[in-house]
Each structure stands twice: as structure tokens, then as C-alpha cells.
């Protein structure tokens, strides 16, 4: 009997094609991704039929914290804390870092004018640290110390919603020319900085008809109401969010947008 030779097949699989596919996928994800910006607390925005997208540039986001466990019984002490984040222009001279620096310097200036006895002084490194922050929420008086902390300590501090020193102080002040609360100081700074940028850009133009074509934070704030986005949890009582609305109204920033998730018209509005 002749021996039957069993051919040994090689178990090697050619992975080259697979590798090609994964690299393509990877490239796709890398190019399309916008990283989730780190936020101190998670909120579930309500849904709406509005299809307008959140602008990528020139945006001031105001985050209103909800109860620590959305939908469940949470700690009411964590509710209604205010956080702000600034996003700059697509123009690299007005990048987020640059905008943040301008906002900070302007806000601190206004704050110091209002509180001559308790001035806030920031050095160069602290200002540089601030420009790297995505979202912040603390009173002015805590800023110098906060900016001297390292990243992990900062996140730890900011993540503790029960701490009364977390969140930008806000109250029912309705006098634009009176003593502003910290939130109003920030909003005034936003307005001033936006206006200054707008005026600078306007001066650069040769044709006055081009003023209408300008797109910056000021036009977003004034013409379209896209400059400020309020983000709040759907279960937060309206009375808490109303305080933010009232403060914006006081600062004459009457046009703003609310961040929502998309749903269809037919869905029951729950």
C-alpha cells in the first residue's frame, strides 16, 4: 500500500488586507473625531425638534449642573452650579487660548474695579494655565489658588459638586450698573471682548459694506443668538435655569440658544 501523504497546510493567514482595512478605519475615525470636551459634570439635555447645529467656533457654553445622579434622588446641593467654557474663532489669531486669555484679563479687570478691597492678582503662569482650561466654575477669589494647582488636583476639586466653592456665584441681581455677581462679571467681559474684536476687525476692512459679512463672537451674540449656549439637565427645575436666563437678560445678552438633543416631530414630547 502506498502511503497517503497528508499535505500540511500552513496556518498562516495573510493579515495584510485586514491591516489595510483597519488602518483605513482608523484614519476615518481620526479625521472625523471631535474629542469630547471634559466637563465637570454630566447632564442630559432635553430633546427638541430644532435642527440647528451647535456652532464649532465662537461659542460661550454655560453649563448648569443637575443633581449628581440624573433622574434619581440626588443631592440637591449639587444642583444649579454654573460652569463656563470659551471656544475661539477658526481664525488662528483668535484661537480658544487667545480668547480665554482676553476674557480672563477683562473679567479680572472688571472684578477688581468692583471689589477694590479684595483684588485678584494673577501672574503670567496662572494666566497661561487658564488658557488651557476647557471648563471652569469657581469664584474669582479662588482663581489664583486654583490655577496654581496641578491638573489632577484641579479636576478633583472641580468634580466635587458638593463643595460650596465650586460653581460661579450667581444671584438675582438685576442692576446692570450695580454690583455685579461673578457670573455677570464674566458675561460683561464676554460682551466687552466680543465688541473689541468686532471693532478691530471692522477697522481693518476697506469696504464698509463688508461689515455685514463679518463673522465673529460679537455677530454671533448680537445677530444670531448663537454665541451663548445654555446646557442644563432636563430634570433640573426651571426655576434654577431661570436664574441664568435672568442674569443673561440683565447683561443685555437677550439672544442665546439652548443645547438640545434631536427628536422627531411625531414623538411625544417627554
Amino acid at each position: 500500500m502506498g502511503k497517503v501523504k497528508i499535505k500540511r497546510k500552513s496556518t498562516l493567514i495573510d493579515m495584510t488586507a485586514m491591516s489595510d482595512v483597519t488602518v483605513l478605519l482608523l484614519t476615518f475615525f481620526m479625521l472625523t473625531s471631535t474629542f469630547l470636551a471634559k466637563e465637570p459634570t454630566v447632564v442630559m439635555t432635553p430633546s427638541s425638534v430644532s435642527e440647528e447645529k451647535v456652532p464649532m467656533n465662537n461659542l460661550v457654553t454655560i453649563l448648569v449642573s443637575g443633581k449628581d445622579k440624573p433622574g434619581n434622588e440626588g443631592n440637591p446641593a449639587t444642583e444649579g452650579k454654573i460652569f463656563i467654557s470659551f471656544t475661539g474663532d477658526k481664525d488662528s489669531t483668535l484661537s480658544s487660548e487667545h480668547i480665554r486669555e482676553m476674557m480672563l484679563l477683562e473679567a479680572v479687570k472688571i472684578y477688581n474695579e468692583q471689589h477694590p478691597s479684595a483684588k485678584v492678582e494673577l501672574d503670567q503662569t496662572q494666566v497661561a494655565e487658564f488658557t488651557k482650561l476647557n471648563m471652569f466654575g469657581l469664584p474669582f477669589r479662588g482663581l489664583p489658588q486654583y490655577l496654581s494647582l496641578d491638573q489632577t488636583k484641579r479636576d478633583e476639586f472641580q468634580g466635587n459638586m458638593e463643595d460650596p466653592n465650586v460653581g460661579i456665584p450667581i444671584d438675582g441681581n438685576k442692576d446692570r450698573n450695580g454690583k455685579l455677581n461673578d457670573f455677570q462679571v464674566w458675561m460683561k467681559a464676554v460682551y466687552n471682548v466680543a465688541q473689541r474684536i468686532h471693532n478691530d476687525q471692522k477697522d481693518m476692512l476697506t469696504d464698509p459694506a463688508d461689515v455685514k459679512k463679518l463673522e465673529n463672537l460679537y455677530t454671533a451674540l448680537m445677530r444670531k443668538g448663537e454665541g451663548i449656549a445654555v446646557k442644563a439637565d432636563k430634570n433640573t427645575p426651571y426655576s434654577t435655569v431661570q436664574i441664568v436666563f435672568d442674569n443673561l437678560q440683565t447683561m443685555k445678552l437677550n439672544k442665546f440658544s439652548l443645547l438640545t438633543a434631536l427628536k422627531s416631530e411625531d414623538e411625544p414630547t417627554h
Binding site: M18, S48, P237, S239, V241, S257, L262, E267, H270
Partner: protein, 238 residues
């Protein structure tokens, strides 16, 4: 690992002939690493961008009484929002689907201060459309805004049939919603003390769906509270 396999010719090698070398590079670790990276990017990205809802508030400067626009009695609709609330836990009541129950009370015209008309205040819910027909509060608002909605649906039809572009549709719809020749309601939204943020967004959403161009957000007055109490007295909870 790169492997170099030499083709075996059974030892019969010709001198001077070039060796044929097949190079196999094992790509498995490369694939593994790529998969890990993909997973990382997939988890870290947001594909869905959130939407925004525009809101324009009036200035809070004092407006002289004679300069104030008075809404016609026949056009006024007042919505008082409420969210079912569990007093013990201090959280909104949720149904079996995990959804919050939002209620809206509404009345038309000027508030009845005699509190004697039965069913002056009516109760409705936000339930959207069913079989393409508006339900709940939407049915009432659609009816109040009939003239505008008729035109709006016509425009929508034209847009769907590609007779007009999206931009044209948007601008025409905006003009249509603000057309002062048509009878349009003036809606006053009054969020009650228990209302959640979602309740307010729901109400604002209805304004957009029903093409209501004139609406405002106000705080409930003393009269509204009495009306609500009166309603609850007449219609005790089951």
C-alpha cells in the same frame, strides 16, 4: 514576525541560480494594535452633534404702559406648565418608560377673575402626533394657528416636491409665521414651580412645530395660582 522562507528544490541546486525568496510579514500584531486604536477613537468621539434651540428674551428695561403692545383678547392663549412631582423624594415622577410626565394647563383670552366659569382652565399633555394627527396641546395650538399652518403645510409640500429649495422654504415659512394679516395666537408660557427645564423646552418646541411667532415666557401670577387650585378642587386627583 518576518519570515524568510526559502523555496526548497529538493537539494538540487543549480549553481549560480538566484535563490527565490518569499517574504512573509505577519501582520497580526499590527491588526491588534489598530483595532485597539479604533476602539479608543470610537469611544472617545461624539458622532452626534447636539442641536440648539434659539431663544430670544425681551429686554428687562421698564416699558411704559402706553408703549406696551396689548394682545387682543381673542388671540391670547396662556399655558401654565407643570411637572408631576413626588414630594417625598423631591424628584419628578417618571412612568414605566422612564419618562417624565409633563402637564400643561391652558386657557384662552383674559383670566377669569371671578373663578366661576367651570372648565375655564383645561388640562392637556404633550403627546406629539399619533398617526400623523396632532394630539394633546398640539391639536389645540394647531387649531388656534390654523391660517398660518395651512400656508405652512402648503410650503412644506412644495419643498418636498422640490419646487423650492430648503433656504427658500425657511425664509418663506418665517415670513408666513410672522404674517400680520393672518389671525395668529399670542402664547404666554408660564412655567409653574414644579416645572423642569425639559417642560419648558417642550413648550418652546411646540411653538416651533406650530409656527407660532409670538410667544413669551412669564412667571405665573396670583390669579393663575388660584385658577390652578380651583381646577384641582373641581377635578380631584383619582
Amino acid at each position: 514576525m518576518a519570515q524568510i522562507e526559502q523555496s526548497d528544490n529538493g537539494g538540487k541546486k543549480k549553481k549560480g541560480a538566484q535563490k527565490k525568496i518569499a517574504i512573509h510579514v505577519d501582520f497580526t500584531p499590527m491588526v491588534d494594535m489598530n483595532m485597539l486604536l479604533i476602539t479608543f477613537f470610537m469611544l472617545c468621539t461624539t458622532m452626534i452633534k447636539s442641536q440648539t434651540l434659539q431663544l430670544i428674551l425681551p429686554t428687562n428695561e421698564e416699558v411704559k404702559k402706553e408703549n406696551q403692545n396689548q394682545a387682543k383678547k381673542s388671540e391670547a392663549v396662556t399655558l401654565i406648565l407643570d411637572t408631576e412631582y413626588n414630594v417625598q423624594s423631591g424628584t419628578p415622577v417618571v412612568d414605566e418608560n422612564g419618562k417624565t410626565a409633563h402637564i400643561v394647563y391652558y386657557y384662552t383670552g383674559i383670566a377669569d377673575t371671578t373663578f366661576s366659569t367651570p372648565d375655564f382652565l383645561k388640562k392637556e399633555t404633550f403627546i406629539g402626533n399619533q398617526n400623523g394627527q396632532p394630539q394633546g396641546i398640539r391639536a389645540i395650538l394647531v387649531k388656534r394657528n390654523e391660517a398660518v399652518m395651512k400656508e405652512y403645510l402648503k410650503l412644506k409640500e412644495m419643498w418636498k416636491n422640490e419646487e423650492i429649495s430648503k433656504e427658500q422654504f425657511d425664509s418663506l415659512a418665517k415670513l408666513n409665521a410672522a404674517d400680520s394679516l393672518k389671525t395668529r395666537p399670542v402664547v404666554v408660557i408660564k412655567p409653574g414651580p414644579n416645572t423642569t427645564y425639559e417642560g419648558l423646552v417642550n413648550a418652546l418646541d411646540e411653538m416651533q412645530i406650530n409656527q407660532i411667532s409670538r410667544y413669551s415666557i412669564e412667571t405665573p401670577t396670583h390669579t393663575d395660582t388660584i385658577l390652578l387650585n380651583e381646577y384641582n378642587r373641581r377635578n380631584p386627583a383619582k
